[in-house]
Symmetry: C2
Subunit: 188 residues, 2 copies
DNA sequence: GTCTATAGCTTGATAGAC
DNA sequence: GTCTATCAAGCTATAGAC
């Protein structure tokens, strides 16, 4: 194989793409090697802990991305509706209009060895809390806001499954289009 | 290993359980052998086509189960609300209150070799059409009925993902509790 | 910091005894 | 119709050259 170099950020992004596409078991080192252009031994130099190290780093990096591009903007300045719309743009990009699966889905099957469980759960809880805060800020009660946050994420995760099975991104577009209705209290 | 026999139905049900729990890549012959009590060679006697044969049979059998316990009851006698409630009971049992994942989710990652794709898509389309028919029967327009059918299945699939990550079946219970609202047009 | 080469294990699959 | 024993291929992981 030709000698190749790749920056940390680009490397991680390509590995993420393999995990979100194939899931944990399907993300073999061969596929990761092919996607990144690095031989297996080079991957072990970058991630001394091997595959567990890679998946752990990927989950952490997505958690950080969500913090910066979803959770934090939800609490920024502007009307709740404006803040949510900025976040919807980021989510659409992150999931590539529905063509990318969610790690919460593809990495949550129990075959996974390391205690990835806890990290996924914490990421999801942070997302639920972020959505609940903006729903509450728009006028919903504490309880209603929590329910609507759950409904919102359920609709995203479910839509991603339908997109994968149907090979049609419309369910994801529809889910995002309806999120404002779910999370922002409207005037009557 | 001790000599063991197992009926066709029980065998298939145990194999289904492995696939829905671990997904296609995670459902190894070792796990299937352990779950069924049959050695690998015996599994090949029952399923000459090997793992592909097993997963194909599992998907077909679930498709049939859905026909009998979901699609058909939706078109039976009684008010739309009554018909839907019978189906909700069956879905709750099938997904074990949310503890079981859905094959549409766990088998739809692209790592799968055989053309399982088409079968999953057809199953999902039949489900969508069934839900759309009962929504229409309860008074929704053709277009609204199709949208609501999609929302209903999205909420089930999404809730199953949340249950798996949170280790808490409440999202699934909530999703089922809200299905009647989604699919049955209420008096105002 | 990348590569080639390979070790050791698990996978899906098969041969043949009972 | 089940079992034990085994195979080749693919897996994660490592040694060592450059």
């Amino acid at each position: 194989m030709a000698y190749s170099k790749v920056g940390d950020e680009e490397l991680l992004s390509k590995i993420l793409q393999v995990f979100r596409t194939y899931g944990n078991e399907g993300a073999t080192l061969s596929r990761i090697s092919e996607a990144t252009g690095l031989e297996k031994a080079s991957l072990y130099h970058r991630f001394p802990g091997g595959k567990r190290d890679m998946v752990r780093t990927v989950v952490e990096s997505v958690h950080e991305w969500f913090g910066e591009n979803v959770i934090h903007p939800l609490d920024a300045k502007g009307s709740p509706a404006d803040r949510l719309h900025r976040v919807l743009r980021n989510l659409r990009e992150f999931y590539q209009g529905g063509r990318n699966s969610c790690l919460l889905d593809t990495l949550s099957l129990p075959a996974v060895e390391g205690r990835l469980d806890r990290a996924l759960r914490e990421s999801l809880l942070a997302w639920l809390e972020g959505f609940a805060r903006i729903a509450k800020a728009s006028g919903f009660s504490e309880r209603a806001a929590r329910e609507r946050a759950q409904d919102a994420i359920v609709s995203i995760e479910g839509a991603l499954v339908l997109v994968r099975v149907l090979h049609d991104t419309k369910p994801f577009e529809r889910a995002l289009d309806r999120l404002a209705e779910t999370l922002i209290k409207m005037e009557k």
